[in-house]
Each structure stands twice: as C-alpha cells, then as structure tokens.
C-alpha cells in the first residue's frame, strides 16, 4: 500500500470526466506548474444547475483524484450548492488525504468556484 486510500487510487487510476468542454459556460484554472499542480475545471450550466463538468489536471495522484471526485460531487448541484463545497468535503469523499497533500483538495474546490465565478461574469456581460 502506498500513502493513498483505495478511493484516491481508484479516482487516480480511472479518473471520471476527464477532458475539455468545448462549449463550456464557465472555466476555472488554479495552481502553478512551478509548484507541480495545475487544474482546469469546465462547467456547463442549465437552469442554475451544473449539468456537465470536466477537468484537466497536471499534477500528482492527489491532484488528479481530487479533480475527478470534484466533478462527481459538483454534477447535478445548483450553483449555490456547488459554491458551498469545501476542501473538507473533497477530502472526506476520498476517504482522506495524506497531510502533505491536503492542499490539493483546496485546489479543486478553488477551481470549481472560479469556474462558477467565470460563468456568472460571462452571463452578466451578455
């Protein structure tokens, strides 16, 4: 066993919702290749609900797994519900993360929140 839970390894091995959404309503990118993690989250929004979500991540197993679980958590939620997703939600949905990797769960919730913000701003402008 390495330092990750089975759940993390499952999402790392078979990440859900990998890819881009060409016609995304919102996009959020966080992180920094200098630190070794960059995450981009794409969302489609329909009737205030996140109808589709995809991700692309450069990063370690924790970064990939938190991105993957985040897409599962967010899908089907209202924007308000999605905005309330915390890093603790992400980590607990993965049966925990090693302490030195907790910042990854931060990253994925930040990326989602940025994507929602981006959607709102774009809509305002229209």
């Amino acid at each position: 066993m390495n330092m990750y839970s089975e759940k993390v390894m499952d999402h790392f091995k078979n990440p859900r919702n990998v890819g881009e959404l060409k016609d995304a309503d919102g996009v959020g990118t966080v992180g920094n290749p200098i630190c070794g993690d960059v995450m981009t989250i794409y969302i489609k929004v329909k009737d205030n609900i996140i109808s589709d979500v995809k991700f692309k991540t450069f990063g370690c197993a924790a970064a990939i797994a938190t991105s993957s679980i985040m897409t599962e958590i967010a899908k089907g939620k209202t924007l308000e519900e999605a905005e309330k997703i915390t890093k603790a939600d992400v980590a607990s949905n993965l049966d925990g993360l090693p302490p030195q990797k907790m910042h990854c769960s931060n990253l994925s919730s930040d990326a989602l929140h940025l994507a929602i913000e981006n959607y709102r701003k774009t809509k305002e402008k229209k």
Binding site: P15, T29, I34
Partner: protein, 403 residues
Amino acid sequence: MIYLDNAATTQISDDVIKAMVPYFSEKFGNPSSIYSFGSNVNKVIEESRNIIAQIIGANPKEIIFTSGGTESNNLAIIGIAQEIHKKDSKKNHIITTKIEHPSVLNTFKHLESIGFSVDYLDVDSDGVVDVEQLKDLVTENTIFVSVMHANNEIGTIEPIEKIGSFLASLKHRVYFHVDAVQTYTKVPIDVKKANIDLLSISSHKIHGPKGVGALFVKKGVSLKPLMFGGPQERSMRPGTENVSGILGFSKASEIAFKDMEKNNKHMISLRNKLIDSIEKNISDVILNGAKGDMRLSNNVNISFKYVEGESLLLYLEMEDIFVSTASACSSKKLEPSHVLLAIGRPHEFAHGAIRFTLSKYTTTEEISKLLDILPPIVKKLRDMSSIDKDTDMTKFKETDEHV
C-alpha cells in the same frame, strides 16, 4: 516486480546474507571482549576493514565503520571543520556544491548556522561542478572542500581527480572530502592518487545490509568525533560494533568489486537502450545529467514534459515497476529536486523527472517490458494534463505562492 530504484537501496545478495547469519547466532560475541569468543569476532571486523581498504587504495587503519553514508558524511564534515577551526579560529571557510545529497547539504547548513562561511559551487547543465569557480573561491581560510563522486539523482560523475590535484597543489592545506556513496564499486577510485582525505561509502547501495557504512580517514588527518564512549574504531566512532553489518558490507564489497567491469558493461548496455528508446519513442523528453562516460553506469533520469513525476511513478507501480521521482530521501517533500533546478531545468520539467536506476540483477526483458508500458502511460497522463507545448508558461511565472 521490476525494481529500478537501485540508487535508493538494493537487494542483498544471498551470499551476503549467508555470511552474516552465523554472526547473529553462534558467533555473537562482543568484539571488545578479551576472551577468544569475542576477539575472534574482532578479527572479522579487521578482515572487513582490510577488504574495503584494498578496494579504494587505502590502509586498513584508515577505515572507520559507521552506521551508514549519512553518518560518514556528517563525521567527515563536522569532524574536520570543528577540528581545524578549534586549532586555528581564522579557518572558517568551507566549500561544497549545489547538488550534494541532503546528508552533505544539510550538514553544511548546520555549520553555516553556527558561524562557518560556506560557498556552494554551481554546476553546468550536465551537472558538472565548476572547477574554475572553486579555484576562485578557495582562500587561506578554507578548511575543506566536499564534492560528491557522482550525483545520486542524475548520475553525473564529477571531476574529483582534477579537484584533488588542484587542492594538493595549494601552499596551504585544504582537506578534500568525497561522498562516494553512489560510485563505490561502480567507478574505480584510488584515494591516494586522487588526493582524497576523507571518503564516504555505504553498504545498502551495493547489495549489502542497511545501517552500515564507512569513512576513509587519511593517515594523519584527525577529526573531532561526533560521539564519545568506548575505544571502538580508535575512539572515532564508539559503540558496540554492528558485526554482522560490517561483515555483510565487506562481503558485498568483495563481490561487487570482483565483478565491477562485467556489471558496468551489463548496466551500461541496458542504460543506453533505455535512454535511446525513450528518446526515440516518446516526444518532449529531456535526459537529465551527463552522457556517456561521465554518467554513472546504472542511472537514467528523464523529464517527461507536461506530466508530474509522482503520477507517472504510481502508474508504473500499478504495473509492478518501481522507480523514483527524486532522491529517495526527499521523496516525501513536495518541492522539486534541488539538483534539477541547479542544472537549469524549469520547475515544470523538474516535476516530471523520473529516475530509473539499474543493478546487476536488471535484465533485458525487464527493460523491454518497461519500454512497452511507458509510452501509453505517458500518453494517458498527457491527455489528462492541463498543460502542453502550447501552454503559455510565462503567465504562471509571476506567482510563486502555493494556492
């Protein structure tokens, strides 16, 4: 299992285990005892000293057994710095390189924190230390210079003979320490010809047991010990000797030295095959470290751009292939390798570096299997990655805070 992390640690040969076991059971005496049951055990230690001394061109009296490479480095560096500084307080300057193992670098940082003046030599893009810079930096107050024989991450072999003869040519005495943990029984060395005063080696890197190492201390060089106690190892390293460990180390040394040429030939051919095939079959890769003769026979270190090392490592683990992302010692840290940064790799490529280190046990079949498995894994991770060759990296450069 395909084990390609032999720079981190190695499997003990069966012959070594067989030699050690009697010193756990029947022959368990304390080597300090005056009766035969103890002094016979002491003889084994003296024979071990002899074997190791011969391999590096030293006198048996110049070999001190320690608990490993880390202790050897600490004893050498702290020991000579304190000893010389005590005798002449003007002497307070010490020099090493930017790419040393943490057991050297952190020991220098400790000495820096208690007042020593330290210079860290640059290396070029192959990881070769800048000897001209060294020549400029040495002063009359320089106590010693510490340069590793080969780097543990990128496998570059350093010009230690050149440095040794430069230091020996100086009018004032500047001691020379070499961390030979990665080269011992791989790169031939003669401590006398190379003008070395102190040389560190470790057992578990050469198919010997963990927890034992040695320090060559040239005749006439005196060190302040790290520890105090009984008269073992001429009081330079007290404590009841790790008899089976010392015996295992010398046995492993003997075996490795006997087959050095054969093993190197075998590993170099697999090393080159691995490098060549990766460069041919996977795009956007960079070999880290020197090429050809200046590279350790068993080291391949490659940055796979746009991919993070730990992810690659864990995908390989799922296929029962074991590699490393950086020095094993620092593999729990998140920062990219200080060695890759020192040779000028941008952070994002430093994060994608994988070290494959071979041993005499590595087979052609294992390398072929790795070469089959690797390209699709890299592809999968790159497909998943948020950065690629079109990403504008400059937009990231401003922040250096972790989110």
